[in-house]
């Protein structure tokens, strides 16, 4: 029983990290139909910035906030300088550009900060609480809380504010939104800023959990997040969240009971292949075919319709 609870909580923690990373990828795909591989590069960059700023100033809060802000700016610049000029090209062109940027960020981190990666001088959020027979680290609690706050905030923002509504309108009908006076470019800036900031937050928290940031830390998220957004129905926010949590849980149990047969990282892909074979539109796509109440409520009240957008011109 204690093992079961322990594994469940670990799954939840991993799921929270996956959700923070994957949501940005789903947002970019929903809006622009680009597979934004470089998102994982921003994740790694966020991890590095958070650590470097924390080590330099001694304040983890400052490191986290500054890292999110700086990476948000980098995300916007990445869109403006790299994606915008090639939006008219066939989808594989931005994909290749994205892979190139991902590798560039990885090697840049290697050149600037060294091959060995970096660690916190004083690990933030050290310590743990005892819950029954389990010990849960403060950092692990912080990851889950942060994911809830950020994603909840995003849901409120998208449904309750004028900007959020303009954003959703752009996702579902870009031309109509533009003719109503919504600036497509500003919506895309906003999209990249939020998604990148979330990735940075995830990067910082992974850096804290491992007490290690390394140039290749984006490698696994780069493809795992891809599997998650496919599972969740490409571009579907609610589906992405559910898929991220599910994957976290499945991996936690799989790593224990299947570790000698199946690589932990291959679980995501086995699941992705199955879903592509059986439900190519993803587990949670389309409001009409939503797989029950849980998915429906998690679809952030209409945000799921983002998936229905055509590729904007």
């Amino acid at each position: 029983m204690s093992l079961f609870l322990n594994l469940s909580s670990q799954g939840l923690i991993n799921g929270a990290v996956y959700a923070l990373i994957a949501i940005g990828l789903a947002m970019v795909f929903g809006l622009l139909r680009i597979l934004h591989i470089a998102h994982a590069g921003l994740f790694a960059l966020g991890g590095y910035l958070g650590l470097v700023i924390t080590n330099a100033t001694g304040s983890f809060a400052l490191g986290l906030v500054l890292s999110m802000a700086l990476v948000a700016v980098c995300g916007v610049l990445m869109y403006r300088l790299c994606y915008e000029p090639i939006l008219d090209q066939p989808p594989y062109v931005p994909l290749i550009a994205s892979v190139g940027m991902f590798l560039a960020i990885e090697e840049l981190l290697r050149l600037v900060f060294g091959d060995h990666g970096l660690s916190y001088h004083v690990p933030p959020l050290a310590g743990a609480i005892e819950v029954g027979s389990m010990r849960i680290k403060y950092a692990e609690i912080a990851v889950v809380v942060m994911a809830c706050v950020l994603l909840g905030g995003l849901a409120l923002f998208a449904t309750r504010t004028r900007i959020g509504m303009a954003w959703r309108a752009t996702v579902s009908e870009p031309r109509m939104a533009a003719s109503c006076g919504v600036s497509l470019r500003q919506v895309r800036y906003l999209n990249f800023a939020i998604g990148s900031a979330f990735a940075a937050a995830a990067g910082v928290m992974v850096g804290v959990l491992n007490n290690l940031v390394e140039p290749s830390m984006g490698a696994v998220p780069s493809y795992k997040a891809l599997a998650i957004i496919v599972l969740g129905g490409l571009g579907n926010m609610g589906g992405t969240l559910v898929a991220a949590l599910l994957l976290g849980l499945v991996e936690a149990f799989g790593a224990t009971y299947l570790s000698n047969y199946l690589d932990r990282d291959s679980i995501a892909f086995a699941a992705m292949l199955c879903v592509l074979l059986i439900r190519p539109e993803g587990l949670f796509s389309g409001p009409a075919r939503a797989t029950g109440g849980l998915a429906k409520t998690l679809q952030l009240k209409g945000a799921a319709k983002w998936v229905l957008t055509k590729r904007p011109s």
Binding site: I13, D115, K137, E140, N211, L212
Partner: protein, 386 residues
């Protein structure tokens, strides 16, 4: 110009060219070119660059002492990017460059891919950190200065049973050739030393979060955890083990020997024991001088990859000196019988050109690796012969 004068002109030109070629040849003869292969970019870069720094240091030391047989050593450096498909073209280029021998600080994949090229070209090839068994089986020009995984795994079993005097052990094996061979050696020798295996878990090199595995290890309640892996996997692992309240001894392999392991795991690293190639605190000049010089040159502490690569260059130099020639065939023959004191201790090669050496043990005390004895048991540590 008369028709007769043309041949004379041609002869003159040809003579001049020959003269130039001779001069050029004489210039080329003043150095002995040693190839160096490693992953200097990409995922292998940490070990590759450490190896390169150590190889450069060894060459500097040898040249500073007057070179070998009146010639200076020249390191010809190529980057295999950690990829087998890159290793073959650079191996061919090294052969074209006229290297007399090659030292590889590359991982198993690229080294295994490059080995047949050098075997065919009859150029001695010394792998310093590649564990793949196929390398030395490629042919008689192949050598290895690091022990294969099985041998080190056997040493770890003796460490657990005889030095730590513990029994109940859980294996936590990284899913690489290195990790699996370590585990195989450990399992093979464990009964000899009364070590009881409770369970074996495997994890991927990309894993940094071990929560689920740790939850099950806690239920197993072991006395010792034999955690194979690298500083970037075992560092987070040990920190997570300790914060989950597991107090079992942690035993690892030489791949944890870098200071980064301690930086990552912090307080949790205290008491970790590994089978190492570095004998910290040794007074022997070959070891102590290297450790000091490496730290001075790179501003970081030596770890296994650097130390083994330094030993590979030292061994090669000893063989060239012994052969009194830099002919590849003579170097190869000399390597077979060379016994030399290096930064990883006294080493020689067996029939299969696998290294014969002992394992110094290291323990983390007060945030530093310290000496913890040695596993020196020639019968137990005999490398494979075929």
């Amino acid at each position: 110009m008369s028709p007769r004068s043309t041949p004379r002109f041609v002869r003159l030109a040809a003579g001049l060219l020959c003269g130039l070629a001779l001069v050029g040849g004489a210039l080329a003869q003043t150095t002995t070119k040693i190839g160096f292969q490693a992953g200097l970019t990409g995922p292998a870069a940490a070990d590759g660059n450490a190896g390169l720094a150590a190889a450069k240091l060894a060459v500097e030391q040898i040249n500073g002492a007057g070179g070998l047989n009146g010639k200076k050593l020249e390191l010809v450096v190529y980057d295999d990017q950690g990829k087998p498909e890159q290793a073959v073209p650079i191996a061919n280029r090294m052969v074209g460059d006229g290297v007399r021998a090659v030292v590889s600080a590359g991982f198993s994949g690229p080294s295994r891919a490059a080995a047949p090229v050098f075997q065919k070209a009859k150029i001695p090839y010394i792998a310093s950190i590649a564990f793949a068994p196929e390398i030395t089986r490629t042919g008689n020009y192949m050598f290895r200065v690091t022990s294969v995984g099985e041998v080190q795994g056997r040493a770890a079993a003796k460490l657990v049973g005889e030095v730590l005097r513990k029994k109940r052990t859980v294996l936590l094996t990284i899913k690489t050739d290195f990790g699996k061979t370590l585990a195989a050696g450990f399992k093979e020798a464990a009964p000899k030393f009364g070590v009881q295996l409770l369970k074996e878990y495997e994890y991927a090199p990309s894993d940094r979060q071990f929560g689920p595995l740790i939850a099950s290890i806690k239920a197993d309640n072991p006395e010792v955890i034999y955690a194979t892996g690298f500083y970037f996997t075992a560092g987070p692992l040990v920190a997570q083990l300790r914060s989950a309240g597991i107090t079992a001894d942690v035993v690892g392999a030489e791949s944890l020997s870098s200071q980064q392991y301690i930086d990552i795991a912090g307080q949790a690293a205290e008491g970790t024991v590994i089978t190492n190639v570095i004998d910290w605190g040794s007074q022997l000049p070959e070891i102590a001088d290297f450790l000091k010089a490496y730290e001075k040159a790179t501003n970081s502490k030596a770890e296994a990859a650097a130390t083994s690569t330094h030993a590979a260059v030292t061994t090669l130099a000893a063989a060239i000196r012994k052969a009194r020639s830099d002919e590849p065939e003579k170097i190869r023959a000399a390597l077979e019988t060379t016994e030399v004191m290096t930064a990883i201790g006294r080493i020689s090669f067996n029939k299969l050109h696998e290294v014969k050496k002992s394992f110094p043990l290291s323990i983390v005390r007060n945030g530093k690796w310290e000496r913890f004895g040695v596993i020196d048991d020639a019968a137990l540590l005999a490398p494979p012969e075929q």
